[in-house]
């Protein structure tokens, strides 16, 4: 059993891309003080939206646009229910994810007559992979950094963009102040509802990109339940990194690597596949345990220091 390390790292980055977007989506609402589990369902809807858009409008870029628009629209639905309808956010997100799981299959059936995948009925479009001119000729680095999907580079840019948005712009400051203390923010004239909608707008944008990556870059069709918990993994990633964009991206990369290990082992050994399927989720649970213990210890030490 031989493993090509370079190919493995490149694969890990590819696997991490949707997780990075999912983490950024969850991060935007987290900073506005909302724990948005609906990311999972938003990504699923966007993945279908992207494929359908590309097929009916006949272009990759139309597909990308439709994916993002679906993400924003679904974000608006959750925001409307929670902020205007005043529902419990947990319940809203669980309900939304439930509806998204069945709803995507339903819409897929109406459009194509299939219930499991669109690969037969829809033309497949792929977001182009980019070869960076000089870097691609560098021996090892070239294979890792160059030749990834365009959206992977967009993800790197988005990590910087989110950091800039939150730390260096007025909107970002307002989002964070609403998340920190909504009443204080309201007392100085910031509309909590409006900021909530803005946070959900960005959340939808990133969820849309994540979905588009899954259905137009990772594979080139939509598949029933294809998100498979990636939204939740991204959500945990940003939770572990305490809401820092760069940290979330790094944790996502780690999860991408575990997924990549599992897929490599599936093809190269006869270890029961059920256990390999568990790997990403087990890794998430273990990571949650370790980061929580670390945080609790740190807090305890701080408290002892104060005494």
């Amino acid at each position: 059993m031989s493993i090509d390390i370079v190919a493995f790292i490149a694969d890990a980055i590819k696997m991490a891309t949707p997780l990075v977007f999912a983490a950024l989506a969850a991060l935007m609402t987290r900073h506005a003080g909302m724990f948005n589990m609906g990311v999972e369902g938003m990504i699923l809807c966007s993945a279908l939206g992207a494929v359908a858009g590309a097929h009916y409008l006949g272009s990759v870029w139309a597909g990308l646009l439709c994916g993002i628009l679906t993400g924003v629209l679904t974000g608006f639905i959750i925001a409307f229910a929670h902020l205007t309808g005043k529902t419990d956010l947990y319940l809203t997100c669980i309900a939304f994810n439930l509806a998204a799981t069945g709803g995507t299959v339903f819409v897929m059936y109406l459009l194509t007559g299939e219930k499991s995948t669109t690969s037969g009925a829809f033309r497949s479009y792929q977001i182009p992979n980019i070869n960076i001119p000089i870097i691609k000729d560098i021996p090892i680095l070239g294979r890792i950094i160059s030749g990834q999907s365009l959206l992977t580079y967009v993800a790197v840019f988005c990590v910087w963009f989110v950091w800039f948005l939150l730390k260096r712009t007025r909107v970002g400051l307002r989002i964070r102040s609403v998340g920190e203390n909504p009443k204080a923010a309201e007392s100085v004239g910031i509309s909590v509802t409006q900021i909530g909608y803005i946070a959900f707008l960005f959340c939808g944008l990133f969820a849309g990109l994540s979905g588009t990556f899954l259905s137009m870059s990772w594979v080139t069709f939509f598949m029933k339940n294809m998100v498979n918990g990636r939204g939740y993994i991204g959500l945990s990633a940003q939770n572990m990194a305490n809401g820092s964009p760069v940290g979330s991206a790094l944790v996502s990369l780690l999860f991408g690597a575990t997924t990549s290990i599992a897929t490599t082992m599936k093809s190269q050994s006869n270890f029961p596949t059920e256990f390999l399927e568990m790997v990403p989720y087990l890794a998430t649970i273990l990571a949650i345990i370790f980061t929580s213990i670390y945080k609790i210890n740190k807090k305890r030490r701080l408290e002892q220091g104060i005494k």
């Binding site: 229910a81 529902t87 709803g103 945990s236 029961p272 399927e277 989720y281 087990l282 649970i285």
Partner: protein, 387 residues
């Protein structure tokens, strides 16, 4: 007349309070309770209408399809029986989620407990074979299911309590892991190679519950479900634990202030909920299946959440929510087979119901108007009196 009666009753209860004010309070409370019921019914009605609209919009023969959807579930004794059979796991999972929901922990581990409990029970049943009579076998299986459930729900509960990890995310991740474990046990320990699909060997006759009511073929699992509904309603509303649990859920700060162990109570409630989900899985296998054949998560945990939301965490109302859900599901199945409309649209309807029932502002304007009017009427009456 009735007004006078009310005020005198209120005086009896709280003699130190101004009788007229307590009358207003009582009336406001009554309006609020009534509006809860109205909201739930309105939510179900709107969702049902949406379902009908979807059917009308997409089918070639709307009248036939709508008729099938509404009346189809009652068209034969067999179908009525299957509504009841389908409602059994919904009821048990709804009870399970009532516990989680009562202490405000959205512990969704019930989803995979249901599957693994069914799996373990089948495995044990195959190992024991026909050596035990049904009177021993069925309770044994229920207890095993409950133990499996309690053990599994312990994991997210302890992580929530000790590590402050988000219980929803942890339970969802665990669901994916446990579902794979159940599939592994099925494929490597009890798969029957003689059948075309992936399934276990046939379970012994002693753990297949007999059917009732002749043609309707209602499984006797309904008896287990009804008994548990009664027991848990008593637990919720007639015992100290039930009262504490509801207090912790509705007002945790007050519960802490009066010296209740909030963490301990919510922990116990989650274990009880998990045990019930395990009983649900075991019952479902004994009631409706001859083999264990689930190769994907069944979704019963989320159905249970819907039932608990519809029942407003009140165990007595759980059977109504469960029967409604089962009726809609069977309707969708009828439409699916007779009209070629995918039954997945039901999950969209389920989402809409949860949202409408959960939305505080849904019909809140109407509620406030009612309360306002009743207070106004009271004021007018008071002015008349003074004159």
């Amino acid at each position: 007349m009735s007004e006078v009666k009310q005020t005198t009753e209120a005086v009896k209860e709280k003699p130190q309070m101004d009788p007229r004010r307590s009358g207003v309070m009582q009336r406001t409370q009554r309006i609020e309770a009534m509006m809860e019921v109205v909201r739930i019914i309105a939510g179900m009605a709107i969702a049902y209408l949406v379902a009908l609209l979807i059917l009308i919009a997409i089918s070639d023969d709307p009248l036939f399809i709508v008729k099938q959807f509404i009346l189809g579930p009652f068209s034969s004794p067999r179908r009525i029986g299957s509504i009841i059979n389908l409602a059994v796991p919904f009821m048990l999972c709804g009870l399970s989620m009532c516990f989680m929901y009562a202490v405000n922990k959205f512990n969704l581990i019930g989803e995979s407990i249901f599957m693994l409990a069914g799996c373990i029970v089948t495995w044990l049943g195959l190992a024991i074979g026909n050596s035990l009579p049904m009177a021993v076998m069925v309770p044994l299986m229920l207890i095993v299911g409950a133990i499996v459930g309690a053990i599994l729900s312990f994991i997210p509960a302890i992580m929530d309590r000790k590590l402050n990890a988000n219980v929803v995310v942890v339970s969802l991740m665990l669901n994916a892991v446990i579902a794979q474990l159940a599939i592994y046990i099925l494929r490597y320990f009890m798969r029957d190679p003689g059948i075309s699909f992936i399934g276990s060997y046939e379970t012994p006759d002693s753990m297949q519950l007999p059917t009732l009511f002749g043609k309707m073929k209602v499984g006797s699992g309904i008896i287990i479900a009804v008994i548990l509904v009664i027991v848990i309603s008593i637990l919720f509303y007639k015992t100290a634990f039930g009262w504490k649990m509801r207090l912790v859920g509705s007002n945790p700060r007050f519960a802490t202030a009066v010296g209740l162990s909030t963490l301990g109570i919510s922990f116990a409630a989650q274990l009880a909920g998990g045990a019930l989900a395990g009983v649900a899985g075991a019952t479902e296998i004994m009631n409706s299946y001859k083999r264990f054949q689930w190769t994907a998560s069944t979704g019963h945990g989320f159905d249970g959440l819907l039932v608990a939301v519809l029942a407003k965490r009140n165990p007595i109302l759980v059977p109504i929510g469960a029967l409604f859900l089962a009726y809609v599901r069977i309707g969708a199945d009828v439409v699916n087979t007779s009209g070629d409309i995918p039954n997945e649209f039901i999950s969209v309807i389920q989402g809409i119901i949860i949202l409408l029932v959960a939305a505080e502002s849904f019909l809140s304007g109407f509620k406030n108007k009612l309360i306002f009017r009743s207070v106004q009427a009271e004021k007018a009456a008071a002015q008349k009196d003074t004159k």
